[in-house]
Amino acid sequence: MKRTLEWQIATVKAIRQETANVKTLTLALLKWVPHRPGQHYDIRLTAEDGYSAQRSYSIGSEPERHGEIDITVEPIRDGEVSPFLDDVVVVGDRFEVRGPIGGYFVWEASDGGPLLLVAGGSGIVPLMAMARHRAAVGATVPARLLYSSRSFDDIIYRADLDALANRDGLQVFHTLTRSQPEGWQGFARRIDDRMVAEVNKPFGPKAQVFICGPTALVETAADAAEAAGVAAERIKTERFGPTGA
């Protein structure tokens, strides 16, 4: 039997505003173990009367950062856990977590590449862990990220992505689906076959593909990657349906 994943108490160490409605919480863990980029933690919140709720959150930070993890929260209207994490939680608060969890949607530098990452909205989180890990270990694996956001101001981790592009050779391609700033040079439509084919062009069928976002985006991007010649077993997906989190 493998080890049991035990609940432990996480302490909120820092809170960072990523966009107008997305925050990153840095959680300090006494029983921290290195995760594999792409994995998640479960969070359990418990009310005074014993009522509790659980949700899963992808880890956005790289495993080279010891003792703590980042989770990134986009509050879902009428949700239960995400509005609490967004609204109520302050630095110093504590709640239960267990992880890291998930052994398929993961990438480590030793897995090689070339790496094609495709994200929609908060689907960037597990892919960011991969990109940060790639930079932290100084890997030279060619890597491209195609990232769909509604508008320029909705791009999560924008400054960090710029830094990864400038310092670490991650090639970042943004698409903005609802509005674009004046003089926008990037894509300006929903991700489609043509866009995936264009971004993946230098990699061709050799790409290792990770796709995370809403179902429609994931379906489109996965089909497009297959159409670009990438074998199905090299395409890994994680889908964020609107699950009322």
Partner: protein
């Protein structure tokens, strides 16, 4: 952990008392939509090449084409389903063929103890035989009165509603009877071997 750690300021959103609360397993919450979760691209199989097979520890394997499968005695099933990613959906309505009906077409070898469901795209999941029989599992090809959509596992998926939904293999193409348990796809990647939502058997070691 015997004593629960209370989270400052957390109240939560309770389900309406009496209606659904006792149908929601621990750690789960109710959804009205039908989230899609799968590990890779959605396979699309030509129905002319589709077949469903029962093989392994049986005297003679059984196999059906799509047309033959559609002529097997079908039933409507209304079931609550729970996904390990924490959502539960009540009263989902399916049409399909009970695993009991399928297994009537083969003579089981007395050594058969476990079942591996296998799917297009290479997905597998393992189940103890007692969890598959006696009306507990079926192969569905309709959801809510319509052909089952590919992203939800169409043309046909296994449905084992009393276990977490990863056991309900999408794009299922057959059942293999085996003597010794073999972990399937998620069961090899840190998820629980059995997956009973009422016991919160989410991960390995739970």
């Amino acid at each position: 952990m015997s004593e629960r750690f209370v989270t400052r300021g957390f109240v939560g959103k309770r389900q309406d008392a009496g209606t659904a609360a006792n149908r929601i397993p621990p750690g789960q919450h109710l959804v009205k939509d039908f989230p899609v979760l799968s590990a890779g691209p959605t396979p699309r199989t030509d129905l002319r090449r589709w077949s469903f097979r029962i093989e392994g520890l049986v005297k003679e394997p059984a196999q059906w084409t799509w047309d033959e499968f559609g002529k097997l005695p079908a039933q409507e099933f209304v079931k609550d389903i729970s996904c390990v990613t924490k959502w539960t959906k009540l009263d989902t309505r399916w049409r399909g063929v009970s695993a009991d009906v399928l297994l009537e077409h083969v003579e089981l070898d007395g050594r058969a103890r476990f079942v591996v469901a296998f799917s297009d795209g290479g997905y597998t999941t393992n189940l103890p035989l007692p969890d598959v029989i006696n009306g507990q599992a079926f192969v569905a090809y309709e959801y809510d009165g319509k052909p089952l959509a590919p992203e939800h596992g169409g043309p046909a998926r296994l449905v084992v509603p009393h276990l977490y939904f990863w056991k309900s293999a999408k794009w299922v193409r057959g059942l293999r009877l085996i003597e010794r348990d073999e972990p399937g796809f998620w069961e090899s990647l840190g998820y629980n071997n059995h997956g009973d939502p009422w016991k919160e058997e989410r991960y390995s070691g739970d």
